[in-house]
């Protein structure tokens, strides 16, 4: 295997592992937020609009780390800096 091939293969594996692991965490976090929101709406159906709004914003903030992982994966796939370092 050439050094370039090794770098490309490792980058692809790293990109997949990175975004996969991050998605695991985000999924759990957003699910927790959604489950609590459902509980809140079930207890107080008239507050549905406010609960939905707060839940969406909270989930968006929880998503940030995953977005950073996504950016890293995108850089590894489309703008890989490592082949230039050979």
């Amino acid at each position: 295997m050439t050094p370039l091939g090794l770098i490309l293969a490792a980058s692809a594996i790293g990109a997949g592992l990175g975004i996969g692991t991050a998605a695991l965490g985000i999924g759990i976090g957003q699910g927790l937020a959604a489950s609590r929101a459902v509980e809140g709406v079930a207890r107080q159906p008239e507050a549905k609009g406010d609960v939905l709004q707060v839940m969406l914003v909270g989930q968006a903030v929880a998503e940030t780390t995953g977005i950073f992982a996504f950016i890293v994966s995108i850089v590894l796939l489309f703008a890989n800096p490592f082949p230039g370092m050979l």
Partner: protein, 243 residues
């Protein structure tokens, strides 16, 4: 269109050999702004005291945005409502460009960072208006003086995460759509279909999610976080504790 080999800004026009150039996102951003201006002028022509026809729609949009701003930021912040509303509608249209077959302008990191920078400047302006320059610096040194670098990092990391959040969500949608179209196209090719029939109906649910639902949601979240962080600087707290 459905091509992910180049995710950076695409240069479509260059002034001679100089370093000045126009990218795809700038052109489409200007087009979206023009569409918004024309729409606003058309909707508010011949206004009457008792609204009829298109004026009802215009008043509905304006009153919805004013209610949203008042509910989130309080009555004192209503002078932010025009900016918030413009940002919201511009982001919805800009994110939805994928529906018309173009690349969304927010799938370019420069667009989202420009918008996040405007938000950052507004937050700092509001902070200086509320506390004054000296008061803001003093507020950042509370509760302990050694927290100052941490507070600076907190201030700077907010626009970065805001810009990356919008960019990442929209770019993710663009990439998934490109994968769907490329996969269906190669499937058509291997089935020897003369016309790419599979690409006609099958991607519609994905289109509905990534080009209609996700843009509205992300535009809402961007404006919502902008409002929340501006209104956090509006509260004067004498005790210097959290909140």
């Amino acid at each position: 269109m459905h091509d992910v080999s180049n995710v950076g800004p695409r240069i479509i026009f260059r002034f001679g050999d100089s370093g000045v150039y126009v990218t795809e996102s700038v052109v489409f951003g200007a087009i979206v702004a023009l569409v918004l201006i024309v729409l606003a002028l058309w909707l508010t022509r011949n206004m009457k005291a008792i609204p009829t026809g298109k004026q009802v729609f215009a008043e509905f949009i304006v009153s919805t945005i004013y209610n949203l701003v008042e509910g989130t930021m309080g009555k004192k912040a209503l002078n932010y409502a025009p900016y918030i509303g413009t940002l919201f509608i511009f982001l919805i249209l800009g994110n939805m460009l994928g529906l018309f077959g173009f690349r969304p302008i927010t799938a370019d990191v420069n667009t989202t960072f420009a918008l996040a920078l405007i938000t950052f400047c507004l937050i700092q302006r509001q902070a200086i208006k509320t506390y004054g320059v000296k008061g803001k610096l003093k507020e950042m040194c509370e509760p302990y003086a050694f927290m100052f670098p941490l507070k600076i990092i907190e201030q700077i990391s907010f626009p970065i995460s805001l810009g990356f959040r919008l960019f990442g969500n929209i770019l993710g949608g663009v990439i998934v759509m490109a994968l769907i179209f490329t996969g269906l196209g190669s499937l058509c090719h291997s089935l020897n279909l003369p016309i790419p029939l599979l690409e006609a109906v099958i991607p519609l649910p994905a289109n509905a999610f990534f080009d209609i639902f996700e843009p509205i949601l992300q535009a809402f979240i961007f404006t919502m976080l902008t409002m929340v962080f501006i209104s956090m600087e509006m509260m004067v707290n004498d005790h210097g504790d959290e909140e």
